[in-house]
Structures are given as C-alpha cells and as structure tokens.
C-alpha cells in the first residue's frame, strides 16, 4: 500500500513536469502562487478520516491512484454532436475538455457587451491585474489540501466579470468534460466577479464521456457585488468511476442575494464544499442540495455559512436519496459572529433511505457568538411513509409507481428550486433515470 505521503511525491513530480512545459511562463505572480500552494499541499498531504472534516469520508481509494495531469488540451477532434446531450439550450456555453477551455465548442451569443465570459487562461493574459486581485482571495489553501492542490495546478477554467448594474439574461453554462482514457486529474479553476446590482445565473456541469477513472478537483470563487442577485447551479453527473472534489467559495457584499443549488448524481466518491461569507449587511444566502446515490457511491456535502455582518438571512435545505450500499454525509456549519446581530439562519437536512444498507452521517454545527439571533436546524432520516404509499395504492396506483412518485417528489422539492428552466427539465429526467437505475440494481 502506498501511504499518502508518497502520493504527494507523485503530485510533486506531475507539478515539475508541468513546470518544465511552461518554459518562459514559469515565473510571475501566478507561478509563485502555484509554487506556494504546491509546497503547502506537500506539507498537508491528503486528509484522512482522522481529520475532523473528513471523519466520515474515506478518500484513500483516490490517493492510491497515479492520476496524470493532461499537459495540453485534448480536444481530439471532438464536435458539438459529441457533447450536445449535456447542453440545455442556452446561448452561452463555455466548454472545458479535460480542464482546458475548448473555444471551438463554446458559444457566447447571449453575452452582453461589457461582460467578460471566457477562459481564465485568456483572462490571465488580458486582465492580469483584475484576476490577481481576486484569485485565491476567498479560496484559502493553508488548511485545505484539495484547494492547495487545485491552486498548484491552476491552468484554466472560467473567468466571468460583470460590470455594475448589468443583467445577464441567459444563464451562463460551464460544461466540464473529462475524456482522457488513462487515470487523469483535472483542476478547473473558476473566478466569477459580479458588479453592484448585477444579475447572473450560472450553471456548472461536470460530466464524463466514458467510464474512466478521473479525479476532478475544482475550485470556484464568486464575489457577489453589492445588491447583486446570483444563482449558481451545479450538476455533477460524472461516471461512477469518477472521483470529484469541488469547493465553492462565495463572498457576499452588502444586500446581495446568492442561491446555490447543487445536485449530485454521479461519481464514486464525491465531496462538495460550499462556503459562503456574508460580508455585508442585508445579505440573503440560500444553499440547496440534492444527492441521489446508488450502489457503493459516497456523496459528502459540507457547507459553511459565515454570518459576519448583522441583518443577514440564510436558508439551507440539503436532501439525499440513498439506495443500495450508498453512503451520504452532510455537515452544515453556521458561524454567527459577535457583530452579526439579527441573523436569521435556518438549516434542514433530510435523508430518504431506500435500502437497509444505505447510510447517512449528518451533523449540524452551529457556532453562535451574537445574542440577538434566530438559528434553527433539523435533520430527519427515514424511509418512505407507509401511509402515503397506502394512500396512493388505495386510489389504484401500483406499489412500484407509488414509491417512484413519492421518491421523486422528495427530490423534486430541490429540483423545483432551480430557476434555470432548461436545466430544471434536464434534472427532472436525469433524476428519474438515476432512480430507475438504482431500482434495477
């Protein structure tokens, strides 16, 4: 068995290989950041179940695999037809193949003038000051090995910048596809900056073209400007052999509204981190999540809402449907600082267990240092309600269908909260299909 210490050596060698290929570009701000992050990753190593933050999520399977970082874009003559099934009709598609922007597959017809929406690699060349002012500011890697690893391997990702009072009507769709045949790791890095009173819906979708062993280690940083209204939807439906770690960092300025809807269907081991700092008065933050896991999938959702200022509200609803021997983890931390009076925070976690061998570990963590606040949390774990099943059957609906209807209704509660219509419809059919697959196992 290879220990995790040896595995950091593997990533160090990958890092050096990329460093060589950079030639003249291996200097400057970005590469300094990469090097510091690589050093930090070497010091931290991969987390183990002895780390409180990873107590229920054993990632040792992924630390044993020698994933290679693709050196160059491998668009490999892919066409729009190859990826069309992942699209949902918006005009703004930024496509990334194995972590690199694929301009030939991307479209940006619905992007208004003055808005930048493209690749981070390009932005680093055209707007280096703007990028460096924000890159890594909220995604701290000192205590986070996966963020350190992502930062060390920053190559590309999406960069979006919206000026003040600008609305982007069509959602911007970021599609990340892994295609490489060997074990591959990709480190998408997204930076989204939104101006005062701007409006944006953004979708991140992670998908695989085939059943390959891949490690996606993504980091997205969002700055919601004063009074901005942002919806961020994430859909993870990579193959069942994929490992996926994604960290979303949001900084909310005064009176901004941020909503995250995160749906996880694929992957062998998935860890989603969502971390929101409510850094101005009057912010509203909504975090919704749905996991549907079957077989031996492990889906872990960690959320952190940091109420740093007074008069902010946060609502959190995470749901999981677990079948087979699937395992779910939910950890929801709410931090209310001393000055954050009149905070209104509500957290709910609901799990539906469809099989005896499916398990969930759920843990709310409220740390409250202000005295005039309203904070509630609740967790339920259960099976389908027999009385509901009977009610449906007593009206003529077969048992299997009754169970399907009730299971989908449980999931639909989250799907309904997605405001991007095209995505919502796709989610409905993807969730249905996933539930069918689980039943036929």
């Amino acid at each position: 068995m290879i220990s995790t210490g040896e595995k950091t050596v593997w990533y160090q060698s990958q890092f050096e290989m990329i460093e060589k290929s950079l030639n003249g570009e291996a200097s400057g701000n970005l590469h300094t950041l990469r090097k510091v992050a690589m050093d930090r990753f070497n010091e931290l190593g991969f987390p183990t179940t002895r780390d409180e933050e990873w107590r229920f999520t054993n990632i040792s399977p992924l630390t044993k695999i020698s994933f290679e970082s693709p050196l160059a874009s491998r668009q490999d003559g892919m066409t729009w037809e190859d990826i069309e099934r992942f699209a949902f009709g918006t005009e703004n598609n930024l496509v990334f193949i194995n972590g690199r922007f694929a301009s030939g597959l991307s479209k940006s017809e619905g992007i208004p003038q003055g808005v930048i929406a493209g690749s981070l690699a390009t932005a680093l060349k055209l707007n280096p000051e703007l990028v460096h002012r924000h890159l890594g500011r909220s995604a701290k890697f000192e205590d986070n090995a996966f963020v350190a690893l992502n930062t060390a391997f920053i190559q590309d990702g999406a960069f979006i910048s919206i000026p003040d009072e600008q609305s982007v009507n069509d959602p911007i769709y970021l599609l990340f596809i892994t295609t490489a045949p060997g074990p591959t790791f990709v480190s998408p890095r997204n930076l989204i900056l939104t101006g005062r009173k701007s409006r944006l819906s953004i979708v991140e979708r992670y998908a695989s073209l085939a059943e390959h062993q891949t490690l996606t280690n993504a980091v997205t940083e969002i700055v919601a400007g004063e009074g901005a209204q942002i919806e961020h939807d994430k859909l993870q439906d990579e193959s069942l052999s994929a490992f996926h770690v994604a960290s979303l960092f949001v900084t909310q300025q005064r009176s901004s509204t941020f909503t995250s809807n995160s749906v996880t269907l694929g992957g062998a081991i998935v860890r989603n981190n969502v971390s929101a700092v409510l850094d101005g008065e009057g912010c509203e933050c909504t975090l919704n999540g749905l996991s549907v896991a079957t077989g031996t999938q492990l889906i872990d959702n960690h959320t952190l809402i940091d109420h740093a200022r007074p008069h902010c509200a946060s609502h959190e609803l995470y749901k999981a449907i677990l079948d087979g021997k699937a395992k779910g983890v939910f950890n929801g931390k709410i931090f209310v600082r001393k000055d954050a009076q009149k905070t209104d925070a509500k957290q709910t976690n609901k799990t539906l267990l469809l099989a005896d061998d499916a398990t969930i570990d759920t843990k709310p963590q409220l740390e409250i240092f202000a005295d005039d606040v309203k904070c509630t949390h609740g967790a339920t774990v259960g099976q389908l309600d027999d009385e509901q099943v009977f009610y449906l059957r007593s009206r003529g609906i077969g048992e299997m269908m009754a169970r399907d209807i009730l299971t989908f209704a449980f999931a639909g509660d989250i799907v309904e909260r997605v405001h991007v219509e095209g995505l919502k419809h796709q989610l409905e059919s993807l969730v249905h299909r996933k539930l069918d697959e689980g039943r036929n196992h």
Binding site: D385, D386, E387, Q388, F390, Y391, L392, R393, S394, R395, G396, I397, G398, E399, M401, A402, I405, L406, F408, A409, F410, G412, D413
Partner: protein, 255 residues
C-alpha cells in the same frame, strides 16, 4: 356486491373486529354507526387493504371474488374506494398529477384508453363543480396545507373522478361545518346510481339527514349489534348507544 362473513381482524395482537357479517347490494346505501373504538375505521381500512391489520378469521367477497387476496391497488382498480378519515398529505405531488395517475391506472386495468391532459382536465373541471371545490386546490400538492374541510371535500372529489362501484366513506362528516356537509352530501348523492353502493361510516346521525341510508348497522365492540332502517339512526341520536349494548349483551347471554 360485497359480502363480509364473520370477519375477525386486529393489530399487534389486539382483536378489534370480532365477527362482522354484512351484505351490501348494488344500489344500496349502508350506514355503519357506533361509539368510538368500536372498530368502524378498522373495518373501512381492512376493506381498502391496509396491511397493518391482520385478518384472523372470516372472508370478504367482492363481486364474487376474495377481496382479501387482492392488493390495495387492485381493489381500487376493481372499483373499491375509501374516503379516508384522515387524508394523508403528500408534499411534492400535485393533486392533478396524482388523480391522473390513479384514473389512468384504473382505466388501463379496464382496458380503456388513458386520458390525455386535455380530456383529463375537462373531466376534472366538471367533477370539481360537484363538490364546489376551489380550482387552486387542483394544482397544490395533495392535501398539503388543506383545511380539514378541504381535505374531506378533496376525498369526495377523488371519488367523483374515479367513479367507484363500492365507496366507503370513513367519517367524512367530521371536520365539516354545516354548509360544507350539505355540499359534500349533495355531491355523494349525485354519485349514487343503481349499479354502485355506498357504505357511510359515521359517529353522528347528522350526515344521514343528507345521505339517507337504506340500512343502518350499529357496530359495538367489533360486532354488528343491531341492524335496521334509517329510523335506527334517529333512535341512536336520541338515546345514544348504551341501550343497544345492554340489549345485545342480553341476547348474547340468552344464546
């Protein structure tokens, strides 16, 4: 249509029904009355197929078939309908979606074509008038946030759409004010035909002023202690249940 023979049933080892026998023919309205805890709702639930109740002795024939061998959905497809005493809330499932799934399951079973969305909506609009139901309740999740009266009205609305042969109304009057009671009862009366039957389970006589029964049965301690015509309900309203209990125990002693 329905023949219950010496039915014994219970839950967790507690005997609740201790030998119920009852015969219901097409075109008849039967009322089952009795004090709290006498087994009225258990009888209704057993007929609909609730499997938490165990049947120990006896049999139930429905249209000549053994009803107890049929799963709940098959009973419904063959025309048995239970209006629940406490209709269940089903968040996330709209009333129309649910009813359409139920109606089409029944139609498929009968070899009829499934209704499309337009045909279904026409039917539903028509039947809604029968119980004067608010259209907004159609699009809301089944029973979720409905008032007590709205839930009961919704049950009769389901009945109107599904057109059962044997409808069992379990305490449909409880939770209804007098105006709603009249509306719901009128709805039920309009659904009475020569080829269907209705069993009304109730604690109070007042519903029977509107849905007039052909037969009244008094269930006491898991057995039918007395049967009679509609006047029996009036006697009960006046004198309560105790005199029947006394009378029944005397006969039992003599036997």
């Amino acid at each position: 249509m329905l023949e219950i023979r010496n039915l014994h049933a219970g839950i967790n080892g507690n005997k609740i029904l201790k030998g119920v026998s009852l015969k219901v023919n097409a075109g008849e309205v039967h009322a089952i009355m009795g004090p709290n805890g006498s087994g009225k709702s258990t009888l209704a639930q057993v007929l609909a197929g609730r499997d938490t109740y165990k049947i120990t002795v006896g049999e139930v024939l429905y249209q000549g078939r053994n009803l107890m061998e049929m799963p709940p959905e098959e009973r419904a497809r063959e025309g048995v309908f239970l209006a629940f005493q406490y209709p269940v809330e089903i968040p996330g499932v709209s009333n129309t979606y649910f009813l359409k799934a139920a109606l089409n399951a029944i139609r498929k079973h009968k070899g009829l074509e499934e209704l499309d969305a337009v045909e279904f909506l026409q039917l539903v609009r028509n039947r809604m008038k029968l119980v004067e139901m608010d259209e907004t309740l159609l699009h809301r999740p089944v029973n979720e946030g409905f008032s007590g009266g709205e839930k009961k009205r919704n049950e009769i609305f389901h009945m109107a759409v599904l057109e059962p042969k044997l409808a069992i109304l379990d305490e449909t009057d409880s939770g209804l004010d007098i105006d709603a009671l009249r509306i719901v009862a009128d709805g039920v009366n309009k659904l009475c035909r020569k080829d269907n039957a209705i069993v009304v389970v109730t604690h109070y006589q007042r519903l029977l002023n509107y849905i007039v029964p052909d037969f009244v049965h008094v269930l006491i301690d898991g057995r039918i202690a007395k049967s009679g015509g509609k006047d029996l309900a009036l006697d009960l309203e006046e004198k309560g249940y105790d005199w029947i209990k006394v009378e029944y125990e005397k006969t039992a002693e003599l036997a």
